[in-house]
Symmetry: D2
Subunit: 339 residues, 4 copies
Amino acid sequence: MRRAVSNLTRFCGGSGFITPGRAPRTATVVMSVSRLSSTSSGRLDVSGIYPPIATPFNKDESIAFDKLTENMQKWNKIAFGGYVVQGSNGEYVYQTAEERIKVVEHVVKAAAPGKVILAGSGCESTRDTIEMTNRMADVGADAALVVTPSYYKGGMHNRALISHFTKVADDSKIPILLYSVPGNTGIDLDPEVIIVLSCHPNIIGLKDSGGDIAKLAHLVISTQSNDFQIMAGSAGFLLPAYLIGCVGGVCGAANMLGQELCDLEQLYKQGKLKEATNLQQRIVAPNACVTKRFGVPGLKVAMEWFGYYGGPVRSPLQPITSEQEEIMQTVFKLSGFIH
Amino acid sequence: MRRAVSNLTRFCGGSGFITPGRAPRTATVVMSVSRLSSTSSGRLDVSGIYPPIATPFNKDESIAFDKLTENMQKWNKIAFGGYVVQGSNGEYVYQTAEERIKVVEHVVKAAAPGKVILAGSGCESTRDTIEMTNRMADVGADAALVVTPSYYKGGMHNRALISHFTKVADDSKIPILLYSVPGNTGIDLDPEVIIVLSCHPNIIGLKDSGGDIAKLAHLVISTQSNDFQIMAGSAGFLLPAYLIGCVGGVCGAANMLGQELCDLEQLYKQGKLKEATNLQQRIVAPNACVTKRFGVPGLKVAMEWFGYYGGPVRSPLQPITSEQEEIMQTVFKLSGFIH
Amino acid sequence: MRRAVSNLTRFCGGSGFITPGRAPRTATVVMSVSRLSSTSSGRLDVSGIYPPIATPFNKDESIAFDKLTENMQKWNKIAFGGYVVQGSNGEYVYQTAEERIKVVEHVVKAAAPGKVILAGSGCESTRDTIEMTNRMADVGADAALVVTPSYYKGGMHNRALISHFTKVADDSKIPILLYSVPGNTGIDLDPEVIIVLSCHPNIIGLKDSGGDIAKLAHLVISTQSNDFQIMAGSAGFLLPAYLIGCVGGVCGAANMLGQELCDLEQLYKQGKLKEATNLQQRIVAPNACVTKRFGVPGLKVAMEWFGYYGGPVRSPLQPITSEQEEIMQTVFKLSGFIH
Amino acid sequence: MRRAVSNLTRFCGGSGFITPGRAPRTATVVMSVSRLSSTSSGRLDVSGIYPPIATPFNKDESIAFDKLTENMQKWNKIAFGGYVVQGSNGEYVYQTAEERIKVVEHVVKAAAPGKVILAGSGCESTRDTIEMTNRMADVGADAALVVTPSYYKGGMHNRALISHFTKVADDSKIPILLYSVPGNTGIDLDPEVIIVLSCHPNIIGLKDSGGDIAKLAHLVISTQSNDFQIMAGSAGFLLPAYLIGCVGGVCGAANMLGQELCDLEQLYKQGKLKEATNLQQRIVAPNACVTKRFGVPGLKVAMEWFGYYGGPVRSPLQPITSEQEEIMQTVFKLSGFIH
């Protein structure tokens, strides 16, 4: 039986979150990822810029594995921390369980050495999430990005979410990052839930796409004793996120502006704040185009401009209109990213 | 290639929605459902009260097929129009594709003769939805209830939704009912979309759980020339829905108050408005308990009070607390349904 | 000192809501309204159809009192229960305190004998609301329609709203109706709050514009022992509202379709449900045009078609575009209300 | 007649926004504010930290002008850029027109020399807003903070908002800052609207309380050629806002943590990013308590801890409960601001 999580506000400590009488599965795993770097407390280090890679499809909507390879060969030349595969930008909800695994497996193989592979393994049910997570681990994912379940909105209260993530983390072979993306799910992970879950030895971080920078600052300070790694979920607030203590970003725009985002990271780290700010300001509008404004259909069109394969989206998503494409072009031109 | 749906406001007519050069698959299907009644224009008649049946689970969260059989033996004695299987109350999002099919197959076999089986076949992608619909048809579903896709909220504009439902209806072996449940999906099907889709020969109706009675009245009058059947998605507004022209209701509360809801239907049809109104008023608060207020966990507890097997929900849904159960009991007592 | 309202769920009864040691001000008032009819328990009877009258403005946005008189001469010929003045359709938020009073005074004088005058007296603060209510009473309003305060949304919890309405009702010279209009205010009055407040001797009813018919049915049954009168806040669900026990409607569309709405009321009362339903169905779409869809600017344009003075709206409201006017015309024509 | 604003996307330029044949009223005004500093283009300089001051009330809810004086004597010792009076934290919606003017007049007199006085003059109607703005100018306000009208949400589209702010700016004797506070109004000013309005010679800036840092970065770059000054509307994201180019902050928390916020500003300006970040992180949680979480009632309680007069709120706002006060104390203690 699993230990009840009865009190949201209790402090982390004591015998910990792990089910008594059972060794945490993570122990062995941490050792097997020795090719990757670790944080000071020995956790998988997920810092840096990660593109949440778009899944390429052929005209008939089947997965274009060859195009995925080609894209990755280009991305491998950029100083990314690693890849997010099967995130929202990967249209994971439109893929069967088998497809989700296969794409992860393919990305693991195509990634350059040293790149961390974060696999989006969230499903609506806890049991499916656990199974998906471990199957993704089996094909080589280094950690799993677990989105909040969201269908029964009234039922996804804090107690339910803590229980869900705790069970998944208890039973997962690889470390877990929480994933909050209220724009898609309608569920915004409560800071109290995140702080409680940051105490779990197998929950190592958070990707937050909500964009509330004050929330992120509060989380950084509230979880710092747990070596908890917080990642900005969008390029729109990457620099402010670094400033208040985030360790990196999972940025849709990195699918085509990966070098620029890594440059931004470097400018920040070198203390060149003015240049970093200028770059950040230029990135906001193009980033909005490939995220909130035109979504994955916009993202895939913009990828083509930068030499990547974008290709079609899966139905019911629709391609953007020619008017929308024109707006995108104007925005990218005004920002100086295309000519 | 499929015919483009270029104009939301065009009137239905002309060469129709069906892909040219291809016979609609429904022709043969209509004949095969001869055990069921038809509307004046020959469509499957889905009028009446339908419980959207809860999927029973064992303690280990596996499906309790024996309990499902037992519940159905009791429900079969009530004058339901049929059953909705794998709707929101069936926790369909927590089941694998295989489980979803198996439960439909089981319900088809356990249903009394003449009961219409409406199977919830919606998936996020169009291709998965078509496959699921036809697999459910293969195991005996009479029609499919297709929920709106909802993950990429910004992308689920009217154009995308019309395209999705048109493709599914084109390729489905059985008739389709649209399913709008904004409380769960965050997507409220626009009347314009519904009116356009009501012209499709294989889209025979709508289940609307939004509760906007004025919207329903408008839809009834706007789709009446298409023999389009509109069903109330909750017992909370069943009588008003009948009054303004709906043909029936898919009511979560019918899992335990099925007889009472069929009584309400009869009182309305017999013109006993005063008695119908009294019953409707008594049903509102208990219905709210097993839907909006406490959801499926509340529904399953209340089922036990009426001799049905409720059992556990699947995680991450959590059982209701004892305080919540007390509130539910008070409400059901005050309304006179338990003592 | 005022009696604390400490418990939301307590039953009505005991020494009542009125401050001990002080006679309720309403006693004398009830006597003075003898020209109007009363309910069985002696309360002011507010049943029937009420137009929430549009405030006519001249081109320079000053109030066109002469046009108001002309409109009222036409409305006086219709079997309305009375008038709502300074409701949302009256653009009350765009008028100074003095203007709000003057328009009420004018309507009181211009109304035919026997018409009940419900005056919208809500302000953000409790003290301003009390003063406004009593000043409107002084110029002849029979009862006040008090909208929920809404600016500090986080602070307008149930405790605050109960306190506000209780203080207003305690100190008002005339009876109070609660007014919930979430589309404008973002605040949807909780049924629990309404039920508690229905026990107050000076709170005689509710106008609810939210359109949740199940909520209304629940409120009718839960407040029936308090002689509490519930009014539909829109013509879009007038017949269903009557059916489940509402006593009337405050319907924006009554500004131009007053006769038709009174006909609907009569058809319902005569048991001619089929005709009533037909009329209700026809009214939904035009009603949506002059409420949710195009608001007061749409309402004022449509009034002109029916021989009333509509005139300009006050800035920042903008006139509807010619395209929007065409849509409205099509809708009114298809519904058979104009030719 | 006023020049029509027909095209949201046109570039600023040409003969400008001002009504032809009429001199802008601001010309003379700019000269009269010579005691204050100006930006490079000669506009009033509103950079720095501004407390949006709480309006102190006596027990009977009348305005406690003596307490206001005392508070200001303390605030005057802090290096604030100036004061915001009659903002959301000033409970302006609960004050009569006369009271709003009197409080502004009082603050003007009590402010130390060189402090900029920004007066909240927004009303629902354009005409009332213009009158209020000019009356506040007459009693000495240096600029007006004009909140978005919000009652008719459906009618407050971009066209209406551009028209409103243009008319107000055209007719105002003092410069205008736009004020977007979606948490209270439900209206989030669209970047396109802001960019268009930034071209108006009498609209000099924006206070944005929405907290979307990416939006602010985009606005900074898009309006920089217009010498447009953007202010963070909360202390929760003050440092990130400075980083991406905001000129200051209007921070509720400055009512009691004014020195700390001015310290934060200085640390940022001196390039001491690490110290600034630490301070920013500590401020987030206490700031949330006195804004989103417990609102003005929380703010006024916390003010007392720091030697200011807080006093009661006006009804219908309610004092916080003792449990809420305890939570606030814990948060302020953990953050090290009280002991």
